[in-house]
Assembly symmetry: C2
Homo-oligomer: 244 residues x 2
DNA sequence: CGGTTCGTTGAAGTAACTCAACGGCTGTGG
DNA sequence: CCACAGCCGTTGAGTTACTTCAACGAACCG
């Protein structure tokens, strides 16, 4: 797979991403080890891994998950292009969670050995790493609020809202207002703490209410306003986000 | 309230805390603005606050929470001495969550204006700030796993295990193996996504099984092994944690 | 083709919820 | 000092949201 030089990174152009100085981009660029491809369904990081690699998600969808010893699994959050993968996992003796590719995925692998240089020589970028960690925590907080307090229908509405917003912000919405949507109902169930059957029944209800449509792998919000209301959704205002 | 100079900080001595160089401690010390007291039940940071203060929790218990517009509230995680408060909240335009004192609480307030100096001049400490953020995310991940996948009894067992471990690690366990435990059942319900009534009934069952005892405000694990089993609890191994 | 994955639906069971009431404790004010 | 209100924990009864079990159709793939 061809490696894309950071100065020409297409993400950096469209997205809601914060501009970096030439020095900073040059440093990030030489921190990139290689461009990695992982197929849908494969694990990028396994729970328990020691010192897993660090990546930026370049293209495709992934998710972080954590399981109980008897197999019950909770999806913690979904990862979209621009998200950092494996940084937190690196801070502990063993990765507390796994990361799995939802679609075929392209990753920019970063040189773990240079993290130290980053903190020493690019304090602004170091700060941005903290920002990214805090931002992911914010997402998990929001998911926890939903899983703990929302009803099944509200959970689904909120998840769809959140994913549409996020996907849209990194330019994944097609011209027709439709969006490639790779989650199976099992993923949704695992993310929301619901059974597969009940997830299905709740989704069908919302779809019959005309809130959204899923045809195959593509999603369209047909009544965003009602969806927002049902979800009790409110935006977390974010100005600009960093991209490593 | 008397301000404690960082070099003599009692937390730094007993806890599982990472040693710092004299330079680093001196810097942290002059970053401390003042020692703040907040009474039980009061908010330390309100959801929506712009640029809230940054604190280290010096003594007492607190929690982070997030609410839906209709009032349903989810406790995201509990905060114990040594935990950093308000750092993530500072990275966004408005704090996405609130922080409330569970007991009377002592806080070391940090000078927000010096965070920048910290990142520039003390990269190791900056890294530790990221570590603390990642560590808190790990806790939220664990809570989300529990709220999404565990049954009511398992949730309670897991929460008690976690709090005992954490409280013990910062020296809050009394000589008799007992622990001051300031949570009401309402707090537990809000943290686990359960109703108050069902929380009560589940807790009484576990107590009758002899897993633990709560008398007034003090908690004793009477069968830690069974509790661990029921919770499907497994330790996240952590060597040393930083303390700002 | 036959196997597999994914979505869909019905029926029956149960974990968790709501409503309601009461007891103990604490603080407060007459 | 007692009366009263407020908070917290406890318990019973009835309801519901969600689960489990089971079966089947459509699409996809080797």
């Amino acid at each position: 797979m061809a490696r894309v030089p950071c100065p020409e990174c297409p993400l950096r152009r469209h997205g809601p991403f914060k501009p970096y100085s030439e020095d900073e981009i040059a440093f990030i660029n030489q921190m990139k080890k290689r461009h990695v491809l992982v197929h849908a369904g494969r694990e990028i990081i396994s729970a328990g891994d020691a010192e897993p690699a660090i990546y930026t998600l370049f293209a495709g969808w992934a998710f972080r998950a954590k399981a109980l010893p008897d197999g019950r699994r909770q999806i913690l959050n979904f990862l979209l292009p621009g998200d950092l993968i494996g940084f937190q996992a690196n801070m502990f003796e063993a990765s507390p969670h796994s990361v799995e590719a939802l679609t075929d995925v392209e990753l920019c692998q970063l040189d773990r050995g240079k993290v130290w240089d980053l903190y020493r020589n690019f304090p602004e970028v170091a700060f941005d790493v903290t920002w990214l960690t805090a931002h992911e925590e914010m997402l998990v907080d929001e998911n926890l609020l939903g899983v703990g307090q929302r009803t099944a229908q509200e959970k689904i509405a909120a998840l769809i809202m959140q994913l549409c917003k996020r996907a849209d912000s990194v330019g994944l919405t097609n011209s027709g207002g439709t969006l490639e949507f790779p989650l199976t109902q099992q993923h949704i169930a695992d993310a929301l703490g619901l059974s597969l059957v009940h997830t299905n029944k709740s989704m069908r209800k919302l779809e019959k209410m005309g809130l959204y449509e899923i045809r195959g792998r593509s999603l369209k919000m047909t009544n965003g306003h009602a969806l927002k209301n049902l979800a009790h959704y409110f935006d977390e205002p974010i100005s600009k986000r960093p991209l490593l």
